[in-house]
Symmetry: C2
Subunit: 391 residues, 2 copies
Amino acid sequence: MLVVQKYGGTSVGTPQRILRVADRIAQRRAAGDRIVAVVSAMGQSTDHLLSLAHRITPRPSRREMDMLLTTGERISMALLSMALEARQVPAISFTGSQSGIITDTNHTRARILEIRPIRILPELERDKVVIVAGFQGVSSDKEITTLGRGGSDTTAVALAVGLNADRCEIYTDVPGVMSADPRHVENARLLKRVSWDTMLELAASGAGVMHTRAVELAGRRLVPFCVRSAFTKKEGTVVEGKAIEQGAGIAAVTGLPRVLEVTIRGIDAATAASGMKDLSGVRGLTADSYGLKFFVPVDSENEHVLEEMHGRMQGLAVERGLAAVTMVGTGLLDVSRVVEEVLNVLAESPAIPVQALASTTIAVTMYVPEASYAEALRRLHGAFVESGRAG
Amino acid sequence: MLVVQKYGGTSVGTPQRILRVADRIAQRRAAGDRIVAVVSAMGQSTDHLLSLAHRITPRPSRREMDMLLTTGERISMALLSMALEARQVPAISFTGSQSGIITDTNHTRARILEIRPIRILPELERDKVVIVAGFQGVSSDKEITTLGRGGSDTTAVALAVGLNADRCEIYTDVPGVMSADPRHVENARLLKRVSWDTMLELAASGAGVMHTRAVELAGRRLVPFCVRSAFTKKEGTVVEGKAIEQGAGIAAVTGLPRVLEVTIRGIDAATAASGMKDLSGVRGLTADSYGLKFFVPVDSENEHVLEEMHGRMQGLAVERGLAAVTMVGTGLLDVSRVVEEVLNVLAESPAIPVQALASTTIAVTMYVPEASYAEALRRLHGAFVESGRAG
């Protein structure tokens, strides 16, 4: 069986943990599997590199950022390969470029165009474990590119597609996909199985377990995968199938504890859109006769972009103090009924005001005051997930 | 004028220092020069990577070591490029592979076979400063290789040859080449001009200013270069010409404060040689009817190799407590006269015993007790360099 595994930054955060990952891989290989392991950068190393760059200049070029950040995964891949060799397991590490991860030229957020595993396949034939640097590729004009934060998940799924792998396993520092963040919701439970589209909404809404584009790609190419802990033997969550096939129900409640509400007045949509290109995770775009309104997650990158937009665009206003709470699942097809119930649940004493609302076929997002974030999560989890109500 | 510069690890050791290097480059470019800047890894980062590897396994594979260690220079090159861009100086960074540094397949100590600057030249035409990751290349079979410790010097000289540069400048953390280590010899002075062959002997004898192979290449391809401080405007040392053309005289006294004396008895030379392949800087090989004797610098790598050889070879003995002191210059052509004087100088009270002696046409090395290292340096510097005696 050919297995593509992905180990996140926490799983390879120290030499000790890298040795443990090597043990896990060695066991699987001894059981007869062929393994391609995609690795992220060790723990906080990407943040360290980012801070070095920002000590040089507040706005480094995206091409040089990619040069800089790709070193992180290369360190972990070489160390993991050494750890396997030290256990007498033949292994070889490859950069994104050597792995044949061909991307477009869009630095810092490139998209994979093609997988050309011309170096990976012969090494698998030679019975080697192949270690691949996640998050990175090489563009059609031979430049080193990155896939954006969390891109190692996408590397793993794309390789599973390109190699026609039998399994794809995402190893992380949590037990799997939870029905809510257990730090906020005591009754949160592990989801044994979720659909690709539910997982996509969860990833996009801030659940943070996986890179959105990885889930999107898995769903489009029908690649089942599992999300599980690198530190235990427990099964985790299997992600496969369509939500519609899995029956009605709210699978999970998630969200972002801090979002910015951005309003632009008196400009045309195209100009606004060009400014927004650099904002990550733009959500809930609405337009009325006065202008455009949207929400973005709070992070330093977005703050930078907004500051810059502020200089160029009159009528741009940023409101702070909001959080986004999202319910995901097929129970949401009748939106108006769900919204009614949501509003009732949140109106219970003390009432949590809903400032705005956005929905897709399988997700509803409420924007509530930042201070009410955890309480809103708990109430909605209790009312919709724990009760098993279909909304 | 096309200038190849090299900045060592201390010169790019912090973001602050990288910004200062960018200032220096920006000034030179404003004066009309085209610049290719080769950079080493920041300060102690190579040591940090080495220690990560050794926490994984005591004997990592050389291919994976190269994967690991090359990340260091990539970090500094990206940061320097960002620093130039932040000063409105157009710049672009290239890895060894992108720079067309083609090497043989000998990992961790590859030799440059060819420079194919197909990406560097067009960027220079576009008036960009080109930043090149030192110490690394790509082998004929597309593997990432390194040139050995200090290899960035070799990258710079090889690029100066390959680009037919007008100047080659080695920036370091010392003012230039000194007549002795000023920490040991108070009267040590800066050498304004030394020949390639004198510099080669100095580098090989432990002066530590430059990579031996870089000097060798410069001499063979007749590339003059200067060695100077990255922190001052002072001129430093110009390295050019042949020793023989520069008149008789001892230019400098250098050495290694700690060497190991290794004796192998009762085995043939070929077996001994195969074991010694992994020892760095093997010096003063002699053979008598009983066996082979040689000296190696004390470092952890050599200690590892000797330990391993010890397991395989009976009759291998390692003696500690010695230092090597080397005098370099054209004044040495009449070796027997020099040796007589050296022995007289060292015999002065308190007498320093000479355990062994080795010579080339322009260098004489004495092996003395470790405790007498600094005193031997001082005496020989006084007697031969300060006096201006031709030996």
